[in-house]
């Protein structure tokens, strides 16, 4: 663990940094390159860049990969199932947000 200091740390917001390299993404999600390649093949995340060695990803991919990894490990879902689950989870979140917007705090 990094030594504890009293410095005020400043970071960057990942979702607003448009580019994450394949390497960065693997480190951040603690997954192998193969897992990310499979997710790309499944259409779960979409890289930009001319070929695999120049791939880069949007910050939103980070969340999707981490969720995909958890679903696969915890529930034993295969990648096609993971892709479907992710789409449904995102749709569900959208609907919940809509519901939350419509109903006041009193109705929660």
């Amino acid at each position: 663990m990094a030594t504890q200091r009293n410095d005020i740390l400043t970071g960057i917001i990942i979702e607003e940094q448009t580019r994450l390299s394949l390497r960065e993404l693997c480190d951040a999600c603690a997954v192998h390159v193969e897992f990310i390649t499979e997710l790309v093949d499944e259409g779960v995340i979409e890289p930009s860049g001319i070929d695999k060695s120049h791939w880069y990803f949007s910050g939103i991919s980070l969340q999707r990969i981490r969720t995909a990894k958890r679903l696969q490990q915890d529930l034993g879902v295969n990648l096609a199932g993971v892709a479907l689950a992710l789409d449904l989870i995102e749709e569900l979140q959208l609907l919940r947000t809509q519901l939350h917007k419509l109903s006041g705090p009193d109705y929660d």
């Binding site: 663990m1 990094a2 504890q4 009293n6 410095d7 005020i8 740390l9 400043t10 970071g11 960057i12 917001i13 990942i14 979702e15 607003e16 480190d27 951040a28 999600c29 603690a30 910050g59 980070l62 969340q63 981490r66 969720t67 990894k69 958890r70 679903l71 490990q73 915890d74 529930l75 034993g76 689950a85 989870i89 919940r96 947000t97 939350h100 917007k101 006041g104 705090p105």
Partner: protein, 324 residues
């Protein structure tokens, strides 16, 4: 510490087959998986189920657990009998890593679990290679969820977070240590976004660089505002005469009160947009004000009189469109 009834957690009988246990686990895991479930205590339940499965799916651990006896009740004060596992041969199967969050999550199991299975099963995790000659590797990245207030995102802020970091000591025990981080919250950050703090993850090995720490931002529920992305929603009560006649009224916004005009004849539930009054950014979010007409209570004779006057003077049927 409290005894945990793993059979009760899984909702199976003590003589359940391994297949029964697997099926029960799959069902509960889907139900409580924190990515899927909306249950308030989903994460805690998921971990509990994961822990129960960790023991019951492994015939060695299950047999050892069973010989504690069937008389224990969940929540009862429990201490592992000395040498309780004597005579059992553990192959050291280890955790299968099924836990939620994974990675830095060695502390996910309960004290009860650790007291029974914490030692013999730990080997091989994390320990393995330490800085022996010339081995260099980048430290792993860590993740943590932190709670901030809407106001922090509005203005930017410096916040201290204390994070619990699980560690495996030389004997293989898992302990959690606490560390406090002071972090600049960037103005305009949205719910669900991640802040990357370079070099704040696990230290590297050898000359390897340390990993990064990712903070997932979540907002504390606010007493009057609701947030969606950078847009902020406010339920604003108005008086019937303000709705009917129009008015200029004071409206709270996260950045301070402003004056707002209400058109005559505003309906209950109308949504008014104050452009750019949400969370700042490019583009800035908007503040949506949802009007709710509040009725003055008719508790005094004077108030009752006014309602009666309105009834007589207005010939108002709110149900005209319903044909009654």
């Amino acid at each position: 510490m409290e005894f945990k009834d793993y059979y009760e957690v899984m909702g199976v009988k003590r003589d359940a087959t391994q297949d029964d246990i697997k099926r029960a686990y799959r069902k509960l895991a889907r139900k409580y998986h924190p990515d899927v479930s909306k249950h308030g205590d989903a994460e805690a339940r998921f971990k509990e189920v994961g822990e129960a499965y960790e023991v019951l799916k492994d015939p060695e651990k299950r047999t050892a657990y069973d010989q504690l006896g069937a008389n224990w009740k969940a929540g009862q004060d429990f201490n592992a009998p000395p040498d309780w596992d004597a005579g059992f041969e553990f192959s050291g199967g280890g955790y299968s890593g099924g836990g939620f969050g994974n990675g830095a999550d060695a502390g996910a199991y309960s004290d009860f679990f650790e007291s029974l299975f914490g030692q013999g099963f730990q080997s091989g995790r994390e320990g393995g290679f330490h800085t022996q000659g010339g081995f260099h590797a980048r430290g792993s990245d860590h993740h943590a969820k932190v709670l901030i207030d809407l106001e922090d995102a509005m203005n930017g802020a410096t916040r201290s977070f204390s994070l619990r970091v699980p560690k495996v000591d030389a004997q293989g025990h898992v302990t959690t240590s606490e560390r406090v981080l002071k972090v600049n919250i960037p103005k305009g950050v949205k719910q669900g976004q991640h802040i990357r703090l370079a070099g704040q993850g696990n230290p590297g090995m050898g000359e390897g660089k340390p990993g990064d720490l990712y903070l997932e931002i979540e907002f504390n529920p606010h007493s009057i505002y609701r947030v969606d992305g950078r847009d902020v929603y406010l339920d604003l009560p108005i008086a019937p005469w303000e709705a009917a006649l129009g008015a200029s009224i004071k409206v709270p916004t996260p950045a301070g009160a402003v004056d707002m005009k209400i058109k005559p004849g505003s309906a209950n539930g109308s949504k008014l947009r104050l452009k750019g009054r949400g969370i700042p950014g490019k583009p800035a979010g908007d503040l949506y004000v949802i009007l709710g007409i509040a009725l003055p209570a008719a508790t005094t004779d004077k108030a009752k009189g006014i309602y009666k006057d309105m009834q007589q003077a207005l010939d108002f049927n709110p149900r005209a469109r319903l044909g009654v």
